[in-house]
Amino acid sequence: MNRLPSWLIVWCAGVYAFLHIPILVLVLFSFNDSKFSVAWEGFTLKWYARLWERQDIVDGLVASLWVATTSTLIATVLGTLLALALARGAFPGRRWLEMLLYVPVVTPEIVVGISLLVLFVAMGLPLGLTTVVIAHVAFNLTYVVVVVLARLAGMDRSLEEAAMVLGADEVTTFWRITVPQLFPGILSGAMLAFTMSFDDYVITSFVTGPGSGTLPVVVYTMVRKNIEPSINAISTLVLVGTVILVTLADRWGRNRPLAGP
């Protein structure tokens, strides 16, 4: 194979720098002992300490974790069942269902948020964390379905048939064969749902009520108001949390081979 030309490698190094330097700088300056200056004035952890003193951030974190966990659980269960229905052959209305699934993918976030706001107001449902969870499930579901469906496509159908011939009924087969086989897919679907839910600002901002801001809503307000190193600190924490989560999910998922060699 031919070697890659050096200008190409330089170009790519530039793109990688563009992708990562802003984040690295952000993390670095969360440890800078200066409120306003971008000059380095020594190492400190005080911006992290300050996060715990701010009730709105702690509340936001709790709200975000609750919303992300709940919506992920619902979306994962519903999405996995839907993926199973789609993988198990033809049924009436299947084409309509596939189209319905792709509506969330092509709808801009802001439209999702606003249309749900219109719905909740029309229904007279008070805005709060419950409405946020409902909204997050609505936009996460499709992603769970797509990820689980991909894993199902790679799964050998005869595994389930083998279990049934060996005497396991459909429910036993599902728990003892299908779920362990699908687990990596379900896990990555859930991961995707969790991060999207945890990160979402746009949709949340429309369907949340006063006093129930998730972390992104709180951070957004901080960014709008005045920029201080606490934002760097909270960003760094979110970043580290995400990287740990992604790495763990990758580990768990990778240890389980699909059927065959």
Partner: protein
Amino acid sequence: MNRSPRRAVLAWFAARPGWRAFGLAGPAVVWLLAFFLIPLGLMLGTSVMPRGVYGGVEWGFTFEHYGRFADRMYLSILWRTAQDAGITTLICLLMGYPVAYVIARSGPWKNFLLFLVVLPFWTSFLVRTFAMIFLLRDTGLINAMLLRFGLIAEPIQMLYTPWAVLVGLVYGFLPFMVLPIYASLEKMDWTLLEAAEVLGARPAARFLRITLPLSLPGVAAGCCLVFIPSLGSFLTSDLLGGAKQILIGNLVQNQFTSARNWPFGSAASFVLMAVVLVGVMVWQRIRDADERAI
């Protein structure tokens, strides 16, 4: 035959695949209908109803909100949005294609390089946008460095300019361009290039006549994945563009917050949806044409 109640239920469903599918898909379908399709329908309804005196919605039917898009001001917002999304897509393509190509040909480094592209994708969009503010603002790192080295006498205004919005959009959506292009390049049979070389094709010809055409489905998917969210983005322009760089997303948001004109906001949303759908249809055309060609 004697069956336990559980097995009797299972046997009933097994004999009726349609009902089984309905039972599995039902909850999710109800959720999607109730919290996705019906809201869109309600919004469509709102968009053709007159605005109430105190900002609410009144019963009636009117196209006036859509009519407002003939207005020069709104047309220019629409145009600027499409333009920004288009330029973002182009820049992402120029930056992302070489990266996807290098990853696909990097052998043992492949997984690591791919991981580096995926990492920002998993990172909070808000955090990444803030990282850009941190670099670009008047007291930001770039201005501070330039001042420090005496390259400029006073800070250059970078934040709250059209350029900042573009940089932010590219920064936000670049991974969406790289991944699908990588996926299509990865599937490519590299011996094709050797075959072309044996037939006398020079590097440029090999790229233009073999690699590029074969990766077009990935390019189309990548462009679609960047173009659509760029069209609907409002966070980037909101935080990096300031009040002047209003895109259609910001227009929609304003109608639902400060302006309290829900019908017009709904109409604007559907105009946005329409533009997005045109984009999706163009992409599907390209994809279908490509499938037919193969």
